[in-house]
Amino acid sequence: MDFDRIKEKLNILADAAKYDVSCSSSGSKRTNTKKGLGDSSGMGICHSYTQDGRCVSLLKILLTNHCIFDCAYCVTRKSNDIKRAAFKVQEVVDLTISFYRRNYIEGLFLSSGIFKSPDHTMERLISVAKKLRLEENFNGYIHLKSIPGASDELMREAGLYADRLSVNIEIPTKSGLKLLAPDKKHEDFMKPMEKVKNEIIQYKAESKLIKSTPKYAPAGQSTQMIVGATGESDRDIMYSSAFFYKNYNMKRVYYSGYVPISTDPRLPAIGTQVPMLRENRLYQTDWLMRFYGFDIRELLNDQNMHLDMEIDPKLSWALRNRHLFPMDVNRIEKQQLLRVPGIGLKSANKIVQARKFRKLNWEHLQKIGISTNRAKYFITCDSREKELRDLSSEHLKQLILKTSHSKFRTDLSPQLSLF
């Protein structure tokens, strides 16, 4: 191995890949068979964290940053004056294996600029995955980027070796896409997504009948949207997101605050702050939609086009719906518990367990770990102490803001615990 040359390529091609925020390596269920290398049946592991607090779990690189397209929001765009490089297929395989054996990573996340044609590019990505699986007997995690415009046959093959496939939508609205990536068509993104979705459904149905059916993209598909590049509203973003979850069985939608990388007048200027707080609020909303039983229309609608940046979206919803509160924690269903500000998934479960044994009072609730300084305005329990509740919603919001921890205001990251 020529280490210096590899090091230079790694520098260029990791740098170009870092704007893709997805780093998940969970949900695959691929176990180590026949004493091979690796296992991705457990939860994904973060082997390190970048200084901006993101999990490092995969070797995330581009195969090459040569690209025939010119999408305005992307560092790899054709017109950008940057150093270009390309890995050989075998180099990526060797690097992945050497890092994996040292317990640096959970696997590989391989994306690429589009060289020659979408099919040509997709083929190369697939050959890396194929080599890892068949020649190296590798059972670690592989995430491949689906190249917009790649053929159905290639997408079908990709899923046989990859755990996850993703196409980044990047721009949440059609009009935005037209403005910033005029040579890309909306359909080019949808087609591979549609194909992968259908294959997943088909393989699942077959494996119920025939046990030996091979795995097809067992960790599903994901996508990413850039936030704050085209003036879209939070409602636009989250409605698109809800659409992808529903129609393409997405495992995850990622939101990536736009990092200014261009002087293009269509985009925010270089030096503009990355909208990290907004990104965080979007993740919270995503969470509420997927795990807390909220319909997105409850959180964002014509009256509420944008999320409140000062408080989290659940509290914001609760303050708009004071007529539903207070709720009695010793009686309400779990679904209702999840709607109370200050009660998260874990504490809701613990409450349900613990109240079987005795009626819970404030002390119990505090020990269980709910955040009583916000919950106390929305619940009653087995205790005579009660909070004043004839405050206006605005007043209540100020009161909670004053007593809440700074973590809701300063440390903002998608991987932060959310409520």
């Binding site: 191995m1 280490f3 590899i6 090091k7 790694l10 520098n11 990791a14 740098d15 890949a17 870092k18 704007y19 176990t31 180590n32 004493k35 091979g36 290398l37 690796g38 296992d39 049946s41 457990g42 592991i45 973060c46 082997h47 390190s48 964290y49 970048t50 200084q51 901006d52 607090g53 999990c55 490092v56 995330k60 690189i61 690097l95 050497s98 890092f99 054996r101 040292r102 317990n103 640096y104 007997n137 605050g257 990092v259 990355v274 990290m276 613990k350 367990q353 613990a354 044994f357 005795r358 819970l360 119990h364 020990k367 269980i368 300063t410 440390d411 903002l412 990251s413 991987q415 932060l416």
Partner: protein
Amino acid sequence: MTGTVLKYDGSFQGFLTCIFTGYEQKLQVVEIVPAGEDQQQLFSETQIIIADEQKALRVLKGLKAKVSTNTMTRINWAFLSEAPGIEMKLYNMISYIFSTKEKVDTDYSHPSVLYISNIAKQVGREKHRMEAFVRFRLTKDDIYFAIIEPDFNVLPIILKHFKSRYADQKWLIYDIKRKIGLYYDLYKTEYVSMELPEDIGISGGNPEYFEAGEIYFQKLWKEYFDSTNIKSRVNMRLHVQHVPKRYWKYLSEKSPFA
């Protein structure tokens, strides 16, 4: 005489034997201490407990009937915390479990149940961290070697993870705090004790011990780590929250040498 102090060999089996003995002889147990450690209770009778597989198994069987598998794991992990007095906390929780008809292992309003749950969570976190932060270095004799210094005795519970992941390479994880290693020879794992040369270091690739390419992979990894950072998003407070400084020593990507 007020109550009995039980002394045991420090093993989990030994501890379970203590529980068995406590019940069988209807003792009023006031303290359980590993041999070699001083007891706090001065005016109690002391009884030496010899670990007994059959007795331990009977306690486990009794427990299994009354608690979930999650609680079994929690009991085991809490024990590995080696926290001072952990034995009595476990003893109290287990007595509570045996003394009630209903299943009470998730009654978090009981102080011992909550305590065990919390300390097991800490051990779980350390297990998870070690699974994440172990950094193997390839030695000249083809063994992937890592040094750890965990807060709790986690080797027994990280074994399974590494064995199923690295089934086709020899590896050795050495706990320098407890001076014991876990070695996998492609067929089985076993605990080993050994003397480490002082200059072996926690990272780096001293050519006396490590394969020639080793240092380069550490450098490549650091290169990767540095390239993947987005400067306009740096947030050191969050960073330290994810990886407390005392764990940095494991992470060669953070070390200045490479």
